[in-house]
Subunit: 98 residues, 4 copies
């Protein structure tokens, strides 16, 4: 995690952009399936695949954020650390509940 | 649910396509956020929003499928009904686990 | 699915009761871990295991319900079928979102 | 977060034990519903409620762990911090995927 990185994910930005581009294409693919009246179960299977791909992106972002923004804040001061932990925990809660 | 509808979702196709178009745009928006080094938590919040939007699409597709393909099969014969139920339950399992 | 079964799950009641008994024991086990100050990550791992076990129970109940109550209603009349489908879809939505 | 606390959750142990006791009772309640042939949808609704209660426990444990074990490790050394972050991210991934 180089110090010059602005956010935890900045070092892996190209990889995230590649994965998001792929997910965007998958969503377009689902629309095409619906437009072409593909069988419901096959459309549902593809929606589950996109949801899992999004999950993988979010789990990566969480790890990068914890390992960079949260850890750095903790080193600066207990108060900053605690604030960043609360913020991260709320974001993790939204992920767990989505 | 008109009999002429090919799949349960066919009657609502325009609405599904509209929602999928919006989700596609949201995924592109997440990529833009990453590209512009937006703060991790804000990116994560948007990923959760897209996951929820996808969930809503999948739940709609499940209801349409149950109310059309599964119910019609059940009326044709117990065996057809049971096969469609198994198929639908497996798709629902994938959704619950994704 | 014998006609005499009151609900879809009635035929598999013993199996569901066995699995729920096991889950109950696992939850008690988590409490014991907390009481004995076991490391957080190990407690979290056990919570994930219990969540997955509950998911498996719910997926089984959904399949049983679709294959019994919903299919039977659909055979009685389109209106009864549609009402049962809506009810089942709402329950599935709660599962997907939990 | 007092220094004497062994784990992040130790300060809130009584509260966690209370919530886990309640969840244990809810699981027993689901078994009773199944035993008494309660309608499938009502059983499913209760399973979703227990899943959400377990989620809330796990989210609390994550926040406590981040704010105690992970932050303390980060202050000791970058290497210790990074190892704890990886461990926490894997546990969070299991939660998101369960």
């Amino acid at each position: 995690m180089t110090d010059s990185a602005q956010h935890g994910y900045t070092d892996a930005k190209a990889e995230y952009l590649r994965r998001l581009k792929r997910i965007e294409g998958q969503v377009r693919g689902i629309a095409r399936m619906v437009d072409e009246d593909v069988y419901c179960i096959d459309v549902l299977t593809q929606v589950s695949a996109v949801t899992k791909a999004l999950q993988a992106v979010s789990i990566g972002l969480v790890e990068d954020h914890l390992g960079h923004c949260v850890v750095d804040a903790a080193r600066r001061s207990p108060e900053e650390g605690e604030a960043k932990v609360k913020e991260a925990a709320d974001a993790i809660a939204r992920l767990v509940r989505s």
